[in-house]
């Protein structure tokens, strides 16, 4: 898993999710298949499942939509205890939750098993415009540097007795943000100068270093292939 080149993994996960999103939710055994594939990949990748589960909370805002659907859709209704639920709404809500969960699981395995470096090399391989790859490379490189700067500014604020309280403290935050912009911009200019001094003329060629073999592609293809089998089985058996 970890050894697969970034773009192979990216394309494999994208293909997997396209198949998932295209599957009608009424073929529920197919989704059992999808979840099994995810569990299998998770096991093979030896990633800490629990840590990943904690990060899954980021999908919550959109789930509110999904949870409201059974109560609001109308039409054919059924009862669970005191609740009256719309059949159509429940199915639609379930559809969203299932697919979004698979999507988040997928993205998290991708994120946790891919280094930023292999992702950048992957971008180069799939012929992303060079300017775009370079911007991404600089962003990844300076994320920590700027983050440290931000932490220092926070410490400086707080060691002089600043306490955040509602909108009245916004001018303090925004002047921090303004200073952060100026520092980032000036850093960009200095980096540019340092690049020019070493003969930069617009190209950053040394990022694509990973060798991709046919074996990698075959491993990568297995992932969406299993999904496709699950999809087709579901179509034949349950339509």
């Amino acid at each position: 898993m970890h050894d697969l080149p970034g773009h192979v993994k990216l394309l494999a996960f994208l293909a997997f999710m396209v198949i998932v999103v295209c599957t009608p939710i009424t073929r529920w055994p197919t989704f059992v298949g999808y979840f099994l594939i995810i569990v299998l990949v998770l096991t093979l990748s030896k990633l800490p499942a629990l840590t990943l589960a904690k990060r899954a909370t980021i999908e919550f805002p959109f789930l509110i939509f999904a949870i409201l659907m059974p109560f609001t859709a109308g039409g054919d209704e059924f009862e669970i205890g005191p609740l009256e639920l719309s059949r159509e709404g429940s199915i639609a809500g379930l559809n969203l939750i299932t697919k979004a969960t698979l999507g988040v699981a997928c993205s998290m395995i991708l994120a946790a098993s891919t280094t930023s470096h292999s992702l950048l090399a992957g971008f180069v391989r799939i012929k992303t415009p060079s300017l775009f790859v370079q911007i991404a490379a600089f962003m990844i490189r300076y994320l920590n540097v700027i983050n440290d700067q931000m932490t220092r500014m926070k410490v400086a604020r707080e060691s002089r007795g600043f306490v955040a309280t509602g909108p009245r403290s916004w001018p303090i935050f925004t002047s921090t943000l303004g200073a952060l912009f100026i520092r980032s911009y000036e850093r960009g200019e200095r980096v540019h100068l340092a690049m020019l001094s070493r003969g930069y003329s617009g190209a950053l060629s040394s990022l694509a270093t990973e060798r991709v073999s046919r074996k990698h592609w075959i491993y990568g293809a297995l992932f969406p292939l299993f999904a496709l089998i699950s999809f087709l089985l579901g179509m034949v058996l349950f339509s």
């Binding site: 969203l96 993205s107 994120a111 911007i135």
Partner: protein, 220 residues
């Protein structure tokens, strides 16, 4: 506003991705023209700024907090094309390295926030400045109105995508009303933070504010 997988069907997502790619391609061309070989390091650092800016939480009231989207802010500070590229890279990195936003929804998200949100916000900024005849406060008022409008406009763009290929039982009009309404509120916060931040940069390094030096025609 990061749409997850499964919310919008694949044909619509693919269409949005194609539009987003066209917009990004155009921005690459324009940004190279404006910034030359300075483009990569500068926009890269602007991306870090946007990413970090989105992580600063502003206390709102009673324990709740909000944060900046940053599209209009970046457009006023570094121009619409550099801003589009910066936000696109931020969204791509969030989706691929931080599992924020669905893989199949990346095109939708990029179109809404990095292309439509940025360009419409910047166009409104330019219009307001022109209407106010470039007076001293026009830059700040323009930033405020542009930032305010960019948020519900991006939400509108989402609602249109939902109307075309949404997977859900809500009527598109209901989704539009809900999204537009909540994002009007978010837009107010966005406007205040954007304006104060532009003001803070103007105070120390006015030469860096792209929107100050542009009296250009509306481009999008």
């Amino acid at each position: 506003m990061h749409i997850p997988d499964g919310f919008i069907n694949i044909p619509t997502a693919a269409g949005a991705a194609a539009l987003a790619l066209t917009g990004v391609g155009y921005s690459v061309k324009k940004a190279k023209g404006e910034l030359d070989e300075k483009a990569a390091p500068l926009i890269g650092l602007v991306s870090v700024f946007v990413f970090a800016g989105q992580m600063i939480n502003f206390p709102v009231a009673a324990g709740t907090s909000g944060h900046l989207l940053g599209g209009a802010l970046a457009a006023v500070l570094v121009g619409p094309y550099a801003a589009s590229l910066a936000l696109t890279v931020v969204l791509a990195i969030q989706a691929l390295l931080f599992a924020d936003g669905g893989l199949t929804a990346l095109g939708l998200n990029v179109f809404n926030m990095s292309i439509f949100g940025v360009w419409s916000g910047y166009a409104i900024f330019l219009l307001v400045r022109k209407t106010l005849r470039y007076s001293n406060s026009a830059l700040l008022i323009g930033s405020a109105v542009g930032a305010f409008a960019s948020v519900p406009l991006a939400a509108t763009s989402f609602s249109i995508q939902y109307a075309i290929g949404g997977e859900g039982t809500f009527a598109p009009s209901t989704v539009f009303t809900a999204m537009f309404g909540t994002h009007l509120l978010i837009g107010i916060g966005e406007a205040i933070i954007t304006t104060l931040t532009v003001g803070a940069v103007l105070k120390t390094r006015p030469d860096l504010v792209y929107g100050k030096n542009k009296r250009a025609k509306v481009t999008s």
